[in-house]
Amino acid sequence: MNVHDREAAVRRMLEQAPPTVPSDLHADVVRRGGRMLRRRTAARRLMWLVLFAAAVAFTVWAATARPWVEPPSQTTPPLTGW
């Protein structure tokens, strides 16, 4: 009995007695899959929303705090009266 015969014998063992497919399978799959899709869409939307809010917050903070402007010197006293 060579490899091919053995494989064919095992295949025959596996092929017998296929189970019956339940009739509500398609509806069940569509319900679950639709829920999965909706959840993914919601997650994507939430991600964009958070990203947008972060961008807006950063812009507002940068416009008010102006971190690129050199702060006034703290070490030299201001020159007055000469």
Binding site: A9, M13, L14, P22, L25, R32, G33, M36
Partner: protein, 165 residues
């Protein structure tokens, strides 16, 4: 625009329904072989199949010419491997029904036998899917075939269940 979207949705639903009608029988048989449940009492296999097909439904638009059957089969295999891994050693581990064809095999051996022989997936693809070397897949497949063709004497579920990696 809205009309076009609606007609696209309808076409997609029709395509998916045709796919399920064509593929569900074979996939359910494969799932039942994986879980080694009796032919008409297979809640685990049905649950696996519904999860795999739901994933295929959710990624239907992103398949882009890829075979949906491949996607569903891959999901089925990956989900079965994961569930077998999580249930390894736990008390409520599902035991295969003793009179099933594959009852003597471990979950990993069943997975490899079903993928290689029932589904006809190439050795390299099976190895890549399971993250094993191809030689290991060949060895496990040969050993499982020997167990199936020349069953050892004694009661069937004496096999130690090893989860697939």
């Amino acid at each position: 625009m809205r009309e076009r979207q609606a007609s696209q949705g309808a076409r997609r639903a029709r395509e998916f329904e045709a796919f399920v009608a064509g593929a569900a029988g074979r996939l359910l048989h494969a799932a039942t072989l994986l879980t080694a449940e009796p032919r008409n009492a297979n809640p685990r296999a049905r649950r696996l199949l519904v999860q795999a097909l739901a994933h295929t439904y959710a990624s239907w638009d992103r398949l882009r010419g890829e075979d949906p059957y491949d996607c569903a089969r891959q999901q089925l295999a990956v989900r079965f491997a994961r569930s077998a891994w999580h249930q390894y050693g736990s008390f409520g581990r599902p035991r295969p029904s003793p009179d099933h064809v594959l009852a003597r095999l471990t979950p990993q051996q069943r997975l490899i036998v079903v993928l290689r022989l029932y589904e006809g997936v190439a050795e390299e693809q099976t190895a890549a899917l399971l993250g094993l070397p191809a030689e290991r897949v060949r060895t496990i497949c040969a050993r499982s075939m020997a167990t199936l063709l020349h069953p050892p004497r004694g009661p069937a579920p004496a096999v130690v269940e090893v989860a697939p990696s």
